[in-house]
């Protein structure tokens, strides 16, 4: 009986503490994995041992990214810091009204290497080194009965250049002085990927077409889509520890109307992720996912600290490279996790901190 009381007492102290603390995200800071937690209304940075590195009180949102640092959004200011954990404060005069609706702290895409988004009523991107600003209303979109704050997700920073999605255009901006260099049409499609080779910026659109841009010479070469080769997504991606980009492609396993129909009948679809590591042959992996909402299936692909995340509505599949091999880790919807340096961590409720996810066999 005594034991039971002790256990109950222990649990009663544990439960509220666990319920209030939430794992938001992770990244590499000073070459070590660091995690961002929400603790009530505060944001806390902790290392893998649960040691508190920094605390910012009363925040609305926070974000962190490799090589960029951390950003905290408050009602009246934005605080950002780099690897040295020295806070820099930017005053906000009039927050974007949508963000004023946030009640519990959330993660918003606010920071990229050398850039922070200041979500004022007239939002702008600040170059943290040169202090130059770029007015960026494109972080807030209105589409089909929804208002979406996408933050810096529609921004690609490559070399000296920054590309911002704004309506049906992609604006190429010189990052140093934050001046517009040129504009590309999105052809009513969306950006699949942006990367740099030498001095050339490559843009791949989701409709399969693209551009090769030499910004210094203001030269734009349109690349036509290859109708015989149309994956759903094609990405260049550098896994943690690699020195060169891999090419990642995603396509449906069987294309054509009949296989689509049979997938619909079963309620599940199969996609193949193929990854070509630098200097190696391409390898394909099959993933199966359910069509949760009938008539449409949605997935998104995003990059997080040396890993790729395929978000299939009901689950996230995290693609990492560990011990020289491609690994897939599946996390069900609603389960908190974070990625830092290509390693996946989950919430450890016993210790109240992040723990490394056990590498397991692929489970689709």
């Amino acid at each position: 009986m005594k034991k039971l009381v002790i256990v109950l007492l222990f649990l009663s102290t544990l439960v509220p503490a666990v319920a209030e603390k939430r794992l938001l995200s992770g990244a590499m800071l000073l070459k070590k994995p660091v995690f961002l937690f929400v603790d009530g209304k505060d944001a806390v940075l902790e290392d893998l041992n649960g040691r508190e590195l920094y605390r910012e009180k009363n925040i609305l949102a926070a974000d962190m990214a490799d090589g960029a640092g951390v950003a905290f959004l408050k009602r009246d200011s934005l605080v950002w810091m780099g690897d040295d954990l020295q806070p820099h404060k930017i005053k906000i005069t009039g927050l974007l009204p949508v963000l004023g609706l946030v009640e519990q702290p959330v993660r918003l895409s606010l920071i990229e290497p050398g850039l922070v988004l200041v979500p004022e009523r007239h939002p702008f991107i600040l170059n943290t080194e040169s202090a130059a600003k770029w007015q960026f209303p494109g972080c807030l979109l209105w589409e089909e009965g929804e208002v979406v704050f996408s933050g810096l997700r529609g921004v690609w920073a490559e070399g000296n250049w920054m590309l911002c999605r704004d309506g049906n255009a992609l604006v190429l901006v010189n990052r140093g002085c934050m001046e517009k260099q040129l504009t590309l049409s999105l052809q009513h499609s969306d950006v699949a990927n942006v990367w740099m080779e030498g001095k050339t910026v490559h843009v791949l659109l989701q409709n399969g077409a693209g551009y090769k841009v030499e910004p210094d010479a203001k030269k734009i070469t349109a690349v036509a889509r290859n109708r015989k080769d149309e994956p759903l997504l094609r990405q260049r991606f550098r896994f943690s520890g690699d020195e060169k980009d891999s090419i990642v492609e995603l396509r449906l396993e069987d294309e054509g109307a009949f296989s689509l129909l049979s997938a619909w009948k079963k309620g599940r679809m199969k996609a193949i992720v193929s990854i070509r590591l630098p200097g190696e042959e391409s390898e394909g992996y099959s993933l199966s996912f359910s069509m949760k909402t009938l008539g449409k299936f949605t997935f998104s692909l995003r990059r997080e600290s040396g890993a790729l995340i395929l978000d299939f509505h009901e689950k996230d599949v995290i693609v990492t490279k560990e011990k020289g091999k491609i690994q897939f880790i599946t996390v069900n919807e609603g389960q908190p996790y974070a990625v830092a340096g290509g390693v996946v961590y989950s919430w450890d409720s016993l210790r109240g901190t992040a723990k490394r996810c056990r590498l397991s066999e692929r489970q689709d």
Partner: protein
Amino acid sequence: MKKTSTLIFLILFQAMGLSLLAGPVLVLRGERCDYLYDAEGRQAWQGTELFAVEQWKTLEPAYYFAVKQSIYRFRDGVISCSGRDWKVKVKDCLLPIPSVAVSIEGMVSGNCIYLPVRAGFLVLDTRSQSQDILTHQWQPSQIPGGALKLSIPQFSGAKEQLWSLESGHLRHLVNGNWKEVVMVPEKDLIEAHLLAGDRFVNLLLFKVTQGDLGSFRTRLLSFSADDGHQLMDREFGGVLKNPAVDSRGRVIFEYVKASIFSAFLGRNKVRWRVIDPGKNKVKDDSVSVGDKRRHLFYVENKQGNLLLVVQCKNGDVFVIDPFNGDSRKLKVGKFGYDYTLIRGVGNGVFYNEKTGNRVAVSFDAGSGGS
């Protein structure tokens, strides 16, 4: 660096979007009729009726909407009207700052515009020039990877009635308070639509059951606009598309016969279904239009009834009265796909976006289809 790509496959139904236009002419799509606003020419068309627009010289990046031959512009937190010296300041609007001229669609109902603001909706009555706040509890939801989403309810109403559809709830505004009318079951749902008239309010649920291609279903729930009591709840098989409502609240669909036979031989046919929730009556009809039908518009006539305007592949235009099945071909000429119809009341303008060409047509019976 993060990057997100989202691919959405809408198998059958295309959601209504915004109409964006880079040029100096903007098409404003409305509930009952459309407008063509030519900023540089300082004029606008409501159907075939041309009216002067005193302000503004250029088509600035802003939101535009039209009510009863007045163009309104929402820019830098201020709504101004083309015809009157009247300005309304809007605080804490939740819409993004537009980078091009945008037509606000789905937020104008009757004489009012419902602008989402932090406290709810700023309701601006353009007739009485009054404004009010309709409180609404916004619930932003998180999108993984650092984005935030806010759903805006659909509004519809007539005769001072207001109904809203938001995240699966149909609500009716009674004495300033929202009253829940029905919760929309999410199972197999593709899309939900709200269509209101003077007498009936209709909730349309497009559904499809997994595993069976023949299982497209449309459920129609109709309510009395006066007291909100349910008049009808019917489910129809087959593919129904292009729903519209007349001024009373009767629903019209175009329906597609899903058979191999009709796919080859029935391409020149326009089929429609009229549903009268008051009489609990459903009537199907069809007309042959000579060539494959490509675009279909609903034009209201002066009595508030709807006419079906069918633009065929060969450019022929047919006007059909869906209630009695009368149909006739317009004699004015042919309009290819580069033409779209700017709907007026009993008339319209076929407008070519590329050339700027405009041809006024009347859809009234007796005018010989001029």
